[in-house]
Amino acid sequence: MAITNNRLTDQQYAQNFSDIHPPYENITAAKVDANRCLFCYDAPCMKSCPTSIDVPKFIKQIATENIKGSAHTIFTSNIMGAGCSKVCPVEKLCEGACVYNLLEEEPIPIARLQRYSTGKAMENKWQLFQRKPSSGKKVAIIGAGPAGLSCAHVLSREGIDITIYEKESKGGGLMTYGIAAYKVTPQFCEDEVNYITAIGGIKIKYNQELGKNISLAELQKNFDAVYMGIGVGVARQLDIPGEDLGGVEDAISFIYNIRDKGYASVPVGDKVAVIGMGMTAIDAATQAKRLGAKEVTMVYRRTEAEKPCTQVELDIAMLDGCEIIWLAAPKEVKGTNGKVSQLVCSKMKLGEPDASGRRSPVDTGETFSLEVDMVIKAAGQVPFEELVNKSGLGNKNGKLVIDKSCATNIKGVFAGGDVVNGGKEVVDAVQAGKDGAAAILKYIGVTK
């Protein structure tokens, strides 16, 4: 057993990481589905979208072959509508609410239709928004992820000059660095950032990290307002013995490497254990398998009923051949010569409901061991607690506390997205960015 890279041929990598949701080949195909849409009033799909995209309208516009209008409808509500069409867990959002579900019929493939219009817009570089003349107001945004980009686009449309400070060398945040490559490619993410900033008035300064290259005080001085969209970063520690052994890696950096370095250069074990059952855990497990791991086992301390990922995601993992062990909590990582050789898990049972309303796992005292050479931790991410404390920002366990108008405790500093909610979907962050922008526009006196 060993952790090695370069397990597959280029052709195998290409096949394993090809687009999981292929787009419509042509407008005829898109129109077949578009015409099935009932054009609901006060549509459940729209109400189930965190950014409230007018779904019936954009689908109707595909049916009338007004693709520009369709893309405009989507981007007006969600400037990352192209990326969201690939990464949203639509089965629990728009498509999950489609009224066809109530007829036991397949829902409208809303994401795929959204992808059609937004894809055409990006391919053809349609500039669908006209930036107002510069108002002379300046806003700094920290983090070029979904929240920051969304905030930037709304503000730029209103004639605000934006500077985004991004600690990585690419924009897009977790869209670029934290999602399975078979959903969005790094190239797509780069294109999406360029498409968003093409409106003008948005400058992104890369490799600029808060607390290292820039300080909040400095930004406050030089800008009319500051928006914090720094997300969450640090992988949650398991706090179990052996966590520092070679071969224990966190899912975020594993996925980051796949996206940043290329498939062939990312090492993966023969037998991999993935801890957790969220979307990131699924993305790590499936990609470990697709990189050539012989066995991938996912362990989760609760049962299938409490899983945080959607059924669609779980199905992807199972179809990829990942083993799933429910009611198993990691207890210890054992190793030889400093390298992982075993994951010891406690067998759990369900007890009383916890704060989340889900029945909490209780240790039965029994254990079992998995022979593995790699352990990927995907037990959630924790906020940048130290960083926000140093900056004097009010927070709860590192998650920024904001008021109704997205304002932090520091005057002129606003925040939204994962940095506030602790980690939700891309589409939630986009909405947070819009809300933040609206609040900032009021604060700087552009709107009432």
Binding site: K31, V32, A34, N35, R36, L38, F39, C40, Y41, D42, A43, P44, C45, K47, S48, A63, A97, V99, Y100, L102, L103
Partner: protein
């Protein structure tokens, strides 16, 4: 099993489905394929005057993703040599003696031409004639087709010429491009036609190419009004059929119903409004001759369910249910009811009623699903909500009479009952 065989003017066919005079009945090859597929009869594409056709010839109207809701054409009558047509007609009659063979005619506007044409066709063994007084394009510019059908006097004259020469039954096909089909219908019945058929196609522009800005069908940068047909024209055809079936004189002859018939249901509707048989074209041009299978089977099953043994048991049964507005019962009232177990919360009933009708539906907000209920006191029973609801039997109209007795508009006024009181 019901008997779906048909007898129209003594012309027998195993079912009431004839292919209308049109491209599908243009030559032996097509007609034999149609007979093999099971069609009861054909009306051979119009023979007569000398013509030359253009390219292109057809165009269509699509609706909500469905192709060919409506169809139009600018093709003229048969452009094949008359002697070939006559030879092929005779061969088809011989090969399928149990099927109806009607020949459509449109001679030049003189008695001699009509007499010569009729004589030649009678020698083929065909069973009857259909006079094309309906073609609305091209031929009209030469005073034929619809130009004849639009003028009751000319139509009468031509039918008289025909009846002098014809020994076979004669059906006169009426044009819908008139304010009413009844005057020409009455005129040709008086002149002796044995039957009527309707409708021919409706003059139309189906659409314009938004790149070239030239309407369809396109002929070298120009277009022309074409004859409209297909499912879109069915309601117009049914109305015109009813006026013929209700008129004291025209109802004395059999009627062959035409206009957008695509399914057995359409056919039954035409027959309920007085058609003895029906003719089909567009549906076959869209799907091929195989559609006749379900048209026969569906008709048969429906008749069995309803207890009708022969077509005559139901032909014309609905004619008298279409009345004058002033005879309608004002005390009849019904109110929409939404079945909450079937409702899928699409809101289409609500928005239709709220924006365009009587604000009779209540919206109770829910996330993601709103609840919709009828405000019974506001509902006028217009049916709009039921019509737009995508779920079968989710919205039903429940009878709530205002008063038990029948009262119509005339009586209402006589008694001085309240008006404009909603």
């Amino acid at each position: 099993m019901a008997d779906i065989s048909s007898n129209f003017l003594g012309i027998k066919s195993p079912n009431p489905y004839w292919l209308a005079s049109a491209p599908p009945t243009d030559k032996k090859y097509n007609v034999l394929r149609a007979f093999e597929a099971g069609w009861g009869g054909v009306v051979w594409k119009t023979l007569g005057s000398q013509v030359k056709n253009v390219s292109s010839r057809y165009s269509a109207v699509d609706f909500n993703g469905g192709r060919v809701m409506g169809f139009n054409n600018i093709e003229l009558i048969s452009d094949r040599p008359l002697d070939i047509n006559l030879k092929e007609i005779a061969e088809c009659v011989k090969l399928f003696p149990d099927r109806a063979m009607i020949v459509s005619l449109m001679a030049d506007n003189d008695k001699k031409s009509w007499h010569e044409l009729i004589k030649k066709v009678e020698d083929t063994g065909a069973h009857g004639f259909e006079l094309n007084f309906g073609c609305p394009h091209g031929m009209t510019e030469r005073g034929m087709g619809a130009a004849v059908g639009q003028d009751p006097e000319i139509a009468c004259m031509v039918v008289e010429w025909v009846m002098e020469a014809a020994t076979l039954p004669v059906i006169t096909k009426l044009t819908p491009n008139v304010h009413s089909v009844v005057p020409t219908g009455r005129s040709v019945v008086k002149a002796g036609t044995n039957a009527l058929s309707l409708i021919n196609t409706i003059q139309s522009v189906t659409g314009i190419n938004l790149d070239t800005l030239v309407p369809n069908p396109y002929v070298a940068g120009k277009s022309v009004f074409g004859g409209y047909c297909g499912p879109a024209v069915k309601p117009i055809a049914l109305k015109m059929l009813t006026t013929i079936a209700q008129d004291d004189l025209t109802k004395t002859v059999p009627i062959s119903g035409i206009g957008g018939i695509s399914t057995w249901k359409d056919a039954v509707e035409f027959m309920l409004l007085g058609a003895s048989n029906v003719q089909v074209c567009t549906a076959a041009m869209k799907h091929g001759f195989r559609i006749v299978e379900d048209m026969c089977e569906g008709l048969n099953n429906w008749m069995d369910e309803k207890g009708f043994k022969t077509l005559d048991d139901f032909i014309g049964r609905s004619v008298n249910t279409i009345t004058h507005w002033e005879d309608l019962d004002i005390n009849y009232h019904h109110i929409a009811k939404i079945n909450q177990d079937k409702c899928i919360h699409c809101g289409l009933c609500y928005i239709a009623c709220e924006d365009t009708s009587h604000q009779s539906i209540n919206l109770e907000y829910g996330k993601p699903y709103n609840k919709y209920t009828i405000k019974e006191e506001e509902c006028v029973g217009c049916n709009l909500c039921q019509l737009v609801c995508p779920v079968d039997d989710c919205i039903t109209m429940e009878e709530h009479r205002v008063a038990p007795e029948y009262i119509n508009w005339v009586e209402w006024q006589k008694r001085g009952l309240p008006l404009n009181d909603h």
